[in-house]
């Protein structure tokens, strides 16, 4: 009996001390999901999610946008199952601090963009023991405000976005959790590091968050929910150092067919008058008019195929265009939100999820299942319009 007990204990001990998978390899993309363009337009930040736990953690890999050259020596490691990524600019307009939602550990990890050397590098300390610098505890912050009865359970932060106070004096980091459904608003200090803020309870399934217009002196924030038919609406204000949030009625789309799988990506038009959301119940792009005074009008739904995921807005000569990834259909749809119709479908690699668009008319799509970034030309004046012009790494 004693031997059996010792054996079982040994097994559990081994499990507890066994690190997840092998060391991260910054030269490759493992299940890439989050992607963001630097505000200066010179770098792309790609989050490998380590979805299969095949590595010790996730990575954030910077890629030069002029040459599309990955910079593995500049990458950092963060916790596993990382989600969305955002990058805040310093006064010179260049990205200075990046943030990643990390589900494993229920934290946001953040890294500085060091441009002092010849090659830009990401810095977030180094815990040591890993070939790629692992962000240290000083570069991690817990989302605030989980309800007391949920403390101790997982939060699974996934949604991440940047915002600013109505008077544009303060900047905020929004973090939304899948499991406990809390939206945290963390003010950024002068060095762009997140500090404790406030949180509100929405409902489980938060996926994406965007900063909306100022309504009656408050910043209006929209949060999509993958588990319920809801786009949550939250008003945020800041008085001195105190941030306050107020939950308003959420938005829903009336439909007779529901799959139980609802919203994914969210994006806002440049003038913050149009909100677009990827919906899977049924597959479509929801286009909402944000009317003066804060009312919301449903402009319409644009039917799509498959599993809409990420959403990004690009300017074009004929108005804005919305790009939506179709995760199961391995394609990206281009939608005219004014006419409510699909302009084009662009076949890409397997499992497109995250998408971001640079100021130079390039869409960067994370091909989750093909472990690469697909680069699509979205410049309407270009001869390669809506063609895949590059892959990182190339096939």
């Amino acid at each position: 009996m004693r031997a059996a007990f010792t054996f079982v204990l040994a097994v559990f001990t081994a499990c507890a001390s066994q690190p997840r998978g092998g060391a991260v390899d910054p030269t490759r993309l493992d299940w890439p999901i989050g992607v963001a363009v630097d505000p200066a337009g010179d770098l792309l930040y790609v989050v490998s999610s380590n979805f299969d736990a095949g590595r010790t953690g996730s990575t954030v890999l910077p890629i030069r946008l002029d040459t599309l050259e990955p910079l593995p020596g500049s990458a950092v490691e963060v916790g596993s199952f990382a989600g969305e990524v955002a990058v805040a600019a310093a006064g010179d307009g260049r990205g200075a601090m990046g943030y990643v939602a990390v589900r494993d550990g229920d934290q946001v990890e953040f890294f500085a963009v060091d441009r002092s050397g010849e090659t830009p590098a990401l810095r977030c300390g180094d815990e040591g023991g890993t070939p790629v610098p692992r962000c240290d505890p000083d570069h991690r912050v817990s989302p605030a405000g989980s309800p007391p009865d949920l403390v101790g359970l997982d939060r699974d932060p996934f949604a991440l976005g940047l915002g600013e106070s109505p008077d544009a004096r303060s900047r905020w980091l929004y973090v939304g959790s899948i499991l406990d459904g809390t939206l945290s608003i963390l003010p950024l200090d002068a060095g762009l590091a997140p500090r404790p803020g406030t949180a509100v309870l929405l409902s489980p399934g938060l996926h994406s968050v965007v900063d909306g217009p100022v309504v009656a002196g408050r910043r209006r924030v929209y949060v999509s929910n993958r588990l319920s038919n809801a786009i949550h609406v939250v008003d945020v204000t800041q008085d001195g150092h105190d941030v306050a949030a107020r939950v308003l009625d959420s938005l829903a789309v009336g439909q007779v067919s529901a799959t139980g799988d609802y919203f994914r990506g969210l994006a806002m038009s440049r003038d913050r008058r149009t909100l677009v959301a990827a919906l899977r119940s049924p597959a479509s792009l929801v286009v909402l008019d944000l009317l003066p005074g804060g009312e919301v009008g449903l402009r319409g739904l644009v039917p799509l195929h498959g599993d809409p995921a990420g959403v990004a807005v690009a300017a074009s000569g004929a108005g804005e265009r919305v790009y939506v990834t179709d995760f199961s259909g391995d394609s990206v749809y281009c939608v005219d939100p004014s006419l409510l119709e699909v302009v084009d479908r662009i076949p890409v690699d397997a499992g497109p999820y995250g998408i971001t668009i640079s100021g130079t008319g390039r869409a960067f799509v994370t091909a989750f299942e093909d472990h690469r970034i697909v680069v699509v030309d979205v410049d309407e004046t270009s001869p390669t319009w809506h063609q895949v012009v590059a892959r990182i790494p190339s096939k």
Partner: protein
């Protein structure tokens, strides 16, 4: 020694192979998805010998073939509606292959946007927008003929038996016009040589009358442009007539003929203004000392070099500040079409737009045009061309609420994704595919009389209802009515209960409906104690101490519904306005924090009573306990303010808004000519007479000792029960009513519309005999609906 397979094994293997091959050689109706993203469908009919049968003569005994436009696969799927069998157009490739529409160079034509069958079922036409080609497909041989077009046409239709017949018409946005494609000589003429009927605007979608005499065209409205009108083109003469779809100040037309359009026209106050007339001089050219500073027009230095306003506006309005505030690449008036004059505050203003194609009734009498937001169908009479005010009190479907709200169209619950017309035995029906996954039946006329109303199910009664009301105080959620204590106001019940003495009627948490569901909208209502009158707030209040008047050049207080007795409250109050909160500790209800924007323990005393109301001015007087008007006079520059109901509740619907009967007339306010007491947005609390105690806590329904003050609007009635608690001496004790206490509830309209639920998106609706055919891009399905019974007959994949 190893042995080979036995004879039995070989036999089994052979049988399996034979079965597989046999299966492969036959079409299958197995419900597997074949279409990837179908966006349109055309139906042809033939007799059993394969001879074409006109669609208008098509019966259930005809062979009906659906030609499904699959946008993602860039081809036409061919599906038999009788047995659900697909035609595989390339047996060499695995799976069912759609018919690829090929250009002359053998490349697949891109951007297929529409498919239509000829009325005689002898051809199917497919439009390739970016390919600038109309393709004709023979249903018998699948032979394709290409006709090049001179433009990226977005829509097409046939010219019936009209003056251009036989021809197809294609709508070209750039250059604007209708291209006439002769069908007799299809494909023989270069696109650049085809005749074009020149038009205005950017033609987008078209539908022609069945007799081919008229075509109705909507226009593209890319960002920054407003082309909100419907064109009627006389196909015999090429004459174009235009009629606004949007308010005059958003329609892209010079409606008053003064040479100026929409935002350029000084008669337009904003995009919702439905009149470009009269043209009013600006504040710096009207010869009036608007801001009462003793200086007029150009003599007032506040007008500045651009003559924006006599009022000292700081900061300058978004439409005159030299910046591109809305990020559309255009700065200020008149460059930015979102600016209606230099003093306009907001560069961004979303307007309704057309969505999808118009639909003409089979007799050519009416045209339906889908709009959004809100989801609606605008109705036009074809000849003479005029907009039908569907809801007018003397209109075809009178509705007192919708008429008051200025809604002229058929209001829907969800945006239209497809529209088809059918001539029935008793009248015309329109069928609207909705983004909610339903097909809705709309009665166009009955025995020749216009109706224009969504049909409801006969004999089916659905009770109007509300959601469980939610109580918030100063924006913070307290709970639902069944959760909060008596210290918060209620409607007297937290239950759904029968109304005593009234058969088949229930009270929903104290809200009772009036039994006229057509006068209800599905919306959220907010009942707020001393709430802000919607729209009656701003940053530009200019106080004239001589007249004790607060003026705001951007507001029309009459139209907003401000009344004498309301209170003006300064927002962002300076320190001189603040005082300690006199509320004693332990007062009920318990409220966390201070009034909005103030630290706990402080109150704002800069609050004034409105003694008189004019369109842009409020005459003020002091209230007991408040700061004097001298404080207001001493504040520099424009003051931010809001106007609140005093000792009363505002009742505001998310779609109905703040109902009232006030309008502006010259320099004063007056009652509307059609004033109706039911149009009110103000409610009172039912309380004991002054000085009398509460009879009980909670107050019981119908209790004596209470002056009951029912609130009634066109949709419902409720009474507000006072908040209270039971004191230590076991006596009922009234609690204070806290400003910005809100009780909100949603209303579900009690109407059972005649719908067929398809799920997904029923797009490309076509009427074929007694059936409607639609495709669903999301689920790759073809739906067949019996429009007589509104039942879904079959769904094919």
């Amino acid at each position: 020694m190893r042995r080979g397979p036995s004879r039995i094994a070989w036999s089994v293997l052979f049988a399996c192979l034979a079965a597989d091959l046999a299966a492969c050689s036959r079409p299958t109706s197995a419900p597997i998805r074949v279409f990837r993203r179908p966006v349109g469908v055309a139906v042809t009919c033939s007799d059993t010998a394969g001879n074409p049968v006109p669609v208008s003569s098509c019966t259930s005994s005809s062979v009906q073939t659906a030609w499904v436009l699959d946008a993602d696969r860039s081809g036409l799927g061919i599906l038999s509606l009788a047995d659900g069998l697909h035609t595989d157009t390339d047996a060499f490739l695995p799976g069912f292959n759609p018919l690829a529409t090929l250009a002359g160079d053998g490349e697949v034509l891109p951007d297929l946007v529409e498919v239509r069958a000829s009325p005689g079922s002898d051809a199917v036409y497919v439009l390739s927008r970016r390919g600038r080609t109309l393709v004709r497909v023979s249903p018998r041989t699948l032979e394709q003929t290409l006709q090049s077009l001179p433009c990226e046409a977005t829509s097409f239709d046939f010219a019936g038996d009209g003056p251009l017949a036989p021809a197809a018409l294609a709508a070209c946005p750039d250059p604007p016009g209708l291209v006439v494609v002769p069908l007799d000589d299809f494909g023989a003429t270069q696109g650049s040589s085809l005749p074009v009927i020149a038009m205005s605007g950017r033609p987008l979608r078209l539908d022609a009358t069945g007799d081919g005499t008229l075509a109705f065209v909507t226009h593209d409205a890319p960002d920054g442009e407003r082309l909100g009108y419907l064109s009627r083109v006389d196909l015999a003469t090429g004459t174009e007539d235009r009629l606004p779809l949007l308010p005059e100040c958003s329609d892209g037309l010079d409606d008053d003929g003064d040479g100026w359009t929409d935002h350029e026209d000084s008669g337009c106050e904003g995009p919702d203004d439905d009149s470009e007339d009269p043209d009013r001089p600006g504040l710096c050219e009207d010869g009036v000392d608007n801001d009462a500073d003793g200086r007029v027009d150009a003599g007032d230095p506040d007008c500045g070099p651009h003559g924006v306003s006599e009022f000292p506006l700081v900061p300058w309005p978004a439409c005159a500040n030299g910046r591109d505030d809305d990020g559309d690449g255009l700065a200020d008036w008149p460059a930015d079409p979102d600016c209606y004059g230099p003093a306009f505050l907001d560069e961004g203003s979303p307007a309704p737009r057309t969505v999808g194609r118009p639909a003409v009734t089979p007799d050519g009498r009416f045209v339906y045009v889908p709009m959004t937001p809100p989801a609606a169908i605008a109705v036009f009479e074809a000849t003479p061309l005029r907009r039908v005010d569907v809801n007018a009190l003397d209109g075809p479907s009178p509705n007192v609420l919708l008429h008051r709200l200025g809604i002229r169209d058929i209001l829907l619950t969800s945006p239209v994704v497809g529209l088809a017309m059918v001539q029935g035995e008793t009248g015309t029906r329109a069928f609207a595919g909705l983004a909610s996954g339903q097909v809705l039946s709309i009665q166009v006329d009955e025995a020749g009389e216009p109706v224009h109303r969504p049909e409801t199910e006969d004999g089916v009664t659905v009770a109007s209802s509300t959601s469980l009301p939610v109580v918030r105080v100063r924006g913070a959620r307290v709970g639902t009515l069944d959760e909060v204590s008596s210290e918060y106001p209620t409607f007297g019940s937290n239950l759904v209960a029968p109304v005593p003495g009234v058969a088949d009627q229930s009270s929903y948490y104290g809200v009772t409906f009036g039994g006229r569901p057509e006068q209800e909208l599905p919306e959220t209502w907010r009942v707020t104690f001393e709430g802000v009158v919607p729209g009656a707030a701003g940053e530009t209040g200019f106080y004239d101490p001589g007249a004790a008047t607060l003026r705001d050049p951007y507001r029309d207080f009459c139209t907003l519904g401000v009344e004498p007795g309301d209170h003006v409250v300064l927002t962002s109050p300076p320190a001189v306005c603040l005082a300690s909160d006199p509320t004693p500790p332990g007062a009920c209800p318990e409220v966390a924090g201070g009034p909005d924007g103030l630290p706990p323990g402080l109150v704002n005393l800069c609050e004034y009573r409105v003694a008189d109301v004019g369109p842009d001015r409020l005459v003020l007087e002091e209230v007991a306990g408040g700061r004097g008007l001298d404080v207001l006079a001493g504040l520099p520059g424009p003051v931010p303010y809001e106007v609140r109901a005093a000792e009363a509740w505002t009742v505001v619907g998310s779609r109905s808004g703040f109902l009232h009967n006030r309008v502006s007339a010259g320099d004063h306010c007056e009652e509307r000519a059609d004033a109706d007491l039911r149009f009110t947005g103000r409610a009172d609390t039912s309380l004991p007479p002054p000085g009398a105690p509460l009879p009980s806590c909670p107050v019981r329904e119908g209790a004596s000792g209470i002056v009951w003050s029912p609130f009634t609007n066109p949709a419902f009635t409720f009474r507000i029960f006072p908040p209270c608690r039971t004191g230590e001496d076991l006596r009922a004790e009234a609690c204070r009513l806290v400003r910005d206490t809100e009780v909100s509830f949603g209303v579900a309209q009690g109407r059972a519309f005649r719908v067929a639920a398809t799920g997904g998106f029923p797009v490309g609706l076509q009427a074929v005999g007694s059936r409607l055919v639609a495709v669903d891009p999301v689920f790759g399905a073809v739906h067949v609906v019996d429009w007589g019974t509104m039942t879904l007959l079959q769904t094919l994949y």
